[in-house]
């Protein structure tokens, strides 16, 4: 028997469309080269080497993406035995991820705001020990952060293009593991940073388990992990709906956790506060893009026909998310935590667009992701500049009267907060407008009304910070505003310019976002 089986060992390798997946291969390949850099380069050459490599990789991936997107097929292609679907939404999200990662990488690479960078020189040294006090003065950093960032980015790109749930799960882990790790590498306040990493890791592992359980139930339902096969199975009626909806529910718990939506958000404020600010910026922008890209694909490709059953639940989730974000955001006294709650509220708005399942919903949500990503990234960049002797001064009281110290910084931050609040002439307004109008045309008027109310509530706490910066007397021992180096300046400028451009002339990005739907074939 064995002989017979071994004799048929002629396995055909699956055809690979290298042109389509080249951007992802470049990023993952560069990450592997970065690991080799760590092993073979002498210490003083690592930082320049890693920064050059990472920037080159992003640029190369961007060029490859641009070259492919120019004449990509309308319906998209699936490659590697249908495990990856490179279609128009995937290409748009890849472009968004690459651009956001570029800005985040500039923040990560900066060594001027905090001498030596925001990362600890040797993470292996326990906080508070004699050795730890010795390394405070050193200007080195763990340059492993760069390959880890690239790995996370590669995982995010695979996550948004994954066409079956197994690939999606592995991509989820690939994007999460480096983030767990990088959260714990802050140079200042190391204990709170490590606590954030442990919290994120434990809760993230828990959420992954939910995802996996849901995957198993869906496999039991459809006999396949492919999204297209699950969609086919939902068209038949002789199968147990219990498996389908239990599986979908558990799957969504895992996905919504990553997007920090609604009741699955509990990790967000602590992790955003504890992680090094460049990593927070990377997480807030890119993880959200990846998570909502995956949610869009799963709901649209696999569960479109059953949307009447699950839509009610997601309504509730979206409302809870907006409620938590807007109301708890009001009570925060720490700027980073406030932005974290704002991201929870924004996740609720994004979920509204995701639920629409129309072409407008898809393009609107993707546009919102692009706009929100750049705004929040620049906001964290600005937060990293306001410092006192202990590091970043994130307590709101320290921000009082900041406009008198540094009018430019206060002006930029005000603009970004207005964008987060959704004031016209900023990208936030256009994003909310397209998402809400898509939801309206899909018959979700009550939800849109609720969302508008919560937008108004959320706008209050953004404006509170603006008032604090302009109309309060500065504290005598208040923080100083660092003059940013070239990298941080470039990252903040990029974020602000994109926020302004998307607010004034959004047509180009909207056209690109609405260029086509998901590849439905297996």
């Amino acid at each position: 028997m064995t002989n017979v089986f071994l004799a048929q060992a002629d396995i055909e390798a699956p055809p690979i469309d290298y042109a389509a997946i080249l951007p992802m291969l470049i990023i993952l390949g560069a990450a592997c080269v970065g690991v080799l850099f760590e092993a073979f380069l002498p210490k003083h050459q690592r930082w320049p080497g890693q920064v050059t490599l990472s920037l080159l990789a992003l640029a190369g991936a961007g060029v490859a993406l641009g070259a492919y997107a120019g004449d990509s097929p309308e319906r998209g292609v699936t490659t590697l035995s249908g495990t990856l679907a490179v279609d128009r939404p995937a290409l748009f999200l890849w472009g968004t991820l690459l651009a956001l990662a570029l800005a985040a990488l500039l923040l990560i690479a900066d060594r001027s705001v905090e001498p030596g960078g925001a990362f600890v020189a040797q993470a292996g040294i326990a906080p508070g020990t004699v050795q730890d006090r010795e390394q405070v003065g050193s200007t080195g950093m763990q340059t492993e952060v760069f390959p880890l960032t690239l790995f996370a980015l590669g995982g995010m790109m695979a996550f948004t293009a994954a066409n079956d749930l197994l690939t999606m799960f592995i991509a989820l882990e690939v994007l999460s593991l480096p983030l767990y790790l990088m959260c714990g590498l802050a140079r200042r306040r190391r204990l709170i940073s490590q606590e954030a990493a442990v919290k994120y890791f434990l809760l993230g592992a828990f959420a992954s388990a939910f995802f996996l359980y849901g995957l198993a139930l869906l496999y039991g339902y459809a006999g396949s992990v492919r999204l297209a096969d699950i969609a086919n199975a939902t068209a038949g009626t002789d199968r147990s709906d219990t498996l389908l909806f239990a599986g979908l529910g558990l799957l969504l718990v895992g996905l919504l956790f990553k997007g920090s939506v609604g009741p699955f958000h509990t990790w967000t404020p602590d992790v955003y506060q504890g992680a090094p600010t460049p990593i927070t910026a990377f997480m807030a922008a890119c993880t959200k893009v990846a998570a909502f890209g995956a949610i869009l694909r799963v709901l649209t490709v696999a569960f479109e026909t059953t949307n009447w059953e699950w839509r009610g639940v997601l309504w509730a989730v979206a409302i809870v998310s907006m409620l938590i974000g807007a109301v708890l955001g009001l009570t925060q006294t720490d700027v980073k935590r406030m932005i974290a709650y704002s991201s929870i509220a924004h996740a609720g708005f994004l979920l509204i667009g995701t639920m629409a399942l129309t072409d407008e919903g898809l393009s609107g949500t993707m546009f919102y992701l692009l706009a929100y990503g750049f705004t929040t990234l620049a906001a964290f960049g600005v937060i990293s500049l306001v410092r006192d002797s202990t590091g970043e001064a994130t307590h709101l009281s320290a921000w009082a009267g900041l406009a008198k110290r540094s009018p430019l910084l206060a002006g930029v931050f005000t603009f970004l907060l207005l964008a987060l609040a959704g004031i016209p002439l900023t990208s936030g307004f256009v994003g909310k407008f397209v998402v809400f109008s898509a939801a309206l045309s899909d018959g979700m008027a009550p939800l849109v009304v609720i969302a508008l109310v919560f937008s108004a509530v959320a706008a209050f706490f953004y404006l509170r910070v603006v008032v604090l910066m302009y109309f309060s007397e500065p504290a005598p021992e208040g923080p100083s505003v660092s003059v940013p180096g070239a990298f941080t300046t470039a990252a903040i400028t990029l974020g602000v310019v994109v926020t302004l451009l998307l607010g004034v002339a959004p047509t180009f990005a909207l056209d690109w976002a609405g260029a086509g739907g998901f590849a439905l074939g297996s």
Partner: protein, 282 residues
């Protein structure tokens, strides 16, 4: 598409042997899982989990999935659980859960919600698979049947990309472990040569050029907590390591007295050494 839950309607029955094995292994699996949760000692928890995993492995074997069964036993019970035990031994098996509730009522709420979710899932699954006819037995010698060959075929054809992507996961994990554990102190650059060390000692970087005196070694005690004696018979405090904080002061005092000859002289005929008295005195 292969209808795994037997929607095809092909009749297959559960043989008596399979049923007997299930009713023996099923409760054992459950017992192990419950034991893992309720055991107070972490090592016991790990061992209960081994029972669950072994039973699961046996169940897979009975289901005609030998590869999966052996993988379960070798990888989970063999490798992962042993790693688990190693870690427990390193951390110290005494370290137990804290019983302080940080949030009031947290445990009760967690228990109620956890049992609720488990109940809902179990109920739903029972209902979902109640009227499903058993599937045809797997044939491990075919590509679809769960054998190693079929699995290998799928890994290198249908699931090539996820398989390759796991390499990124492994690299990240390896590098992460090094980032968190490696310090320069362990590398060549971080170590001083003997000559440099001697020079540094005499330059005054350390408190004294010579090493500190070792602990006293006497007929009555061989503990590192026993102080050394100076020529005049007094105790040399430097000989006691500052790191031994767990040694209670009372015990140390008895030992000091003993060494200094102030304690009651031990009875040569006594069956119990004076150490015992020190312990009972605590």
């Amino acid at each position: 598409m292969v209808p795994y839950l037997a929607q095809a309607g092909a009749e297959a029955t559960v043989s008596t042997g399979e049923a007997v094995a299930f009713w023996i292994l099923g409760p054992l699996t459950l017992l192990g899982a419950l034991g893992m949760i309720f055991a107070r000692n972490a090592v016991h928890s790990a061992l209960w989990l081994v029972l669950t995993m072994l039973s699961l492995g046996m169940l897979y074997l009975i289901q005609n999935a030998p590869f999966l069964g052996f993988t379960q036993i070798i990888v989970y019970t063999g490798a992962i659980m042993m790693l688990f035990l190693f870690v427990l031994m390193l951390v110290g098996r005494e370290s137990s859960d804290s019983v302080v509730e940080v949030l009031r009522g947290q445990r009760l709420a967690a228990a109620v919600l956890g049992v609720g979710v488990a109940g809902v899932l179990a109920g739903a699954l029972t209902r979902a698979v109640a009227d499903v006819t058993p599937a045809q037995p797997l044939n491990p010698w075919t590509a679809e049947g769960g054998g190693a060959g079929g699995l290998g075929r799928m890994i290198f054809s249908d699931y090539l990309f996820p398989f390759e992507l796991t390499s990124a996961l492994l690299i990240t994990a390896g590098m992460g472990a090094m980032v968190l554990a490696f310090t320069e102190r362990h590398s060549k650059a971080g170590k001083r040569s003997q000559r440099e060390l001697v020079e540094a000692r005499f330059r005054g970087e350390y408190e004294r050029p010579s090493p500190k005196p070792g602990p006293g070694v006497f007929a009555t005690a061989n503990s590192v907590a026993t102080p050394a004696l100076l020529p005049d018979g007094s105790v040399a405090p430097e000989s006691l390591s500052e790191l031994i904080e767990s040694t209670s002061a009372a015990k140390l005092d008895t030992a000091r007295k003993q060494v200094a000859g102030e304690a009651s002289t031990p009875d040569a005929h006594a069956l119990v050494g004076p150490d015992k008295e020190g312990e009972t005195a605590e």
